[in-house]
Amino acid sequence: MDVLQNLAMGFEHALTLQNLMYCAIGCVVGTLVGLLPGLGPLATISLLLPLTYSIPVNGALIMLAGIYYGAQYGDSVSAITMKIPHASSIVTCIDGYQLTLKRQTGLALFTAGISSFIGGTVAIVVLAWLTPLLGRVAFMLGPADYCMLMLFGFMCVSVVTTGSVLNGLAMCFVGVLLAQVGTDVQSGVQRFTFNLDTLYDGINLVSVALGCFGIAEITKNLDEGEERSPFNGEIHLIPSWANFKRIMPSALRGSLVGSILGVLPGGGATVAQFVSYAFEKKTSKYRREIGSGAIEGVAGPAAADEAAARTSFIPLMSIGIPENAVTALMMAAFIIKGVQPGPNMIEKNPDLFWGLVASMWIGNCFLLLLNVPLVRIWLSVFKIPYGVLFPSILFFCCIGTFSINNNLNDIFVTVAFGFVGYILMRLSLDPSPLMLGFILGPMLEENFRRAMLLSRGSFEVFVTRPISATLLALVVALTLVGVVGALRAGRRGGLAERHPPPPPDCETNTPPSAMVI
């Protein structure tokens, strides 16, 4: 009952005209930056942080949070229609874009919008009721558990995105190695920087994402002579009852996966959508269609992504530890406003905590309105001829990169990764696992070194801890499943790649029906 009373108090704060306005601004800006390739929530919150100095604390935090979860909604629109995803819509892009190629963009957008709403709603319930309990779950994890959790994430990504464990793992490890570039936080040594100032703080995530996805995708479209995006501007948003029935179970499964994984540091929205996708591929009645444009392939990851984005606030607000770059910026905003996130925050600032929770649900309603009935307005940007659109996207890529450090030289790094992304695409190597490896690389290293330090250099720590041992067993099981699958494929007449390659559009992202080594 306490929770309901507190929520009522939160709605009282969130429903003031001023806070409603900030929530709406956050959602609109978030949707816009999610939609536009080249500007993500990270860059936008960085840009807007100084502007919040003069805004009241509740309004500022409600607006910044709105940008974050609004961008999760908006980026699925560009991922589905243009195949230009941010990190949080990499998986939604796989089946969503396939649906666009089948002229079912409206169905994909409706599925993503409604699933995100369901994911957000479930996550808010989790956030309100289970914050103290889930906070304790994160406390139970030691460094060895984190390492195994991340390796498990790598395996899931490898299986899900490429269908080839070897190709996927290779890209994950390349991502981890790229994350080594920069200053080693423990010793202060500059690693792999070649004495370039631009690399002292490491390679920028935005550069890798824009290069490998944005620039490479544009060049591929130009190579293939696409003057327009495959999206033709015509959408039929209202799905049939049969399709609607397919959305609900997947969205609910994705919401649960996202709510659980979102709370784990290192998990977050990126891993949640991959795990949800793998879960759908194993459990869905329509699993055979996933990868070639299935509703379940959009609904599950979209719900998981949104749920994880909301529950990722739990470690920040219950423990005071941000789990990703965006929540780290949110933490900065809290501190600027004189609020220290952590166990005492709920007691000391109940109006702030419950107001933020309530505003998330209000924001969810705003976003549903913006991204389903009003999505046609947003989509008008994609009716522009590709000859006009692609220089504009490249400009936003430049601005997105520049805005991180206000340094034009950072664009050279984006250019380098544009070339890398193009080569990877031509070699049929999917950059999605590389991104995950790159994001989790520093955390993997930190936890590995800590685990080894605590165990005095013994690898036994990975099998003596129950959580770590369970995750290790899952990693081994996935590897064995891959080996058995490959052997079976071999018996049927060779490895899967002996079969004719899939069409170029789905070559890099469509998981084959059988996992291969």
Partner: protein
């Protein structure tokens, strides 16, 4: 060239480059890791994976690799031009260079269209500078 072999060799090359680079830093031991230990371990794992990929490529049918350098060169050249011109004369010049160079990668080329796109993007840049306070040095 066989695409499967080329990608395996590329991965192997990356593993060897990072692995060799790791030795420039202190390795330490497992209980007291130096800055070179972790990249060395990951490089070793990556090399093992790449060797398996090389072995696998022997049993796979050869797939020809197709890389067209013209358009990627124009796109990347336009981006580099944006940086160099922006440094020299400001972002307005950079935008014009970006639009006119990258448009060469498209199927059709129109001076008038490029000019319109440049003007629109310059307006966006002004909006970003005045509304968001982004210090992009327009001129």
């Amino acid at each position: 060239m066989n695409r499967n072999l080329v990608r395996a060799l590329l991965i192997a090359g990356l593993a060897l480059s990072f692995g060799a680079g790791s030795f420039r830093y202190s390795i330490g031991d497992l209980s007291d890791a130096g800055p070179g230990l972790f990249p060395l371990m990951i490089s070793a794992l990556l090399l093992a994976v790449s060797l398996m990929m090389i072995a696998r490529s022997r049993y796979e049918s050869a797939v020809p690799i197709e890389i067209g350098m013209k358009r990627i060169s124009l796109v990347l050249g336009g981006l580099i031009g944006f940086v160099l011109v922006s440094k020299a004369v400001g972002v307005i010049g950079g935008i014009v260079a970006l639009v006119f160079v990258t448009a060469l990668a498209g199927r059709s080329y129109s001076w008038r269209r490029n000019l319109q796109v440049s003007i629109a993007l310059i307006a966006v840049a002004f909006a970003l500078q005045s509304l968001l306070g982004l210090n992009i040095g327009l001129y």
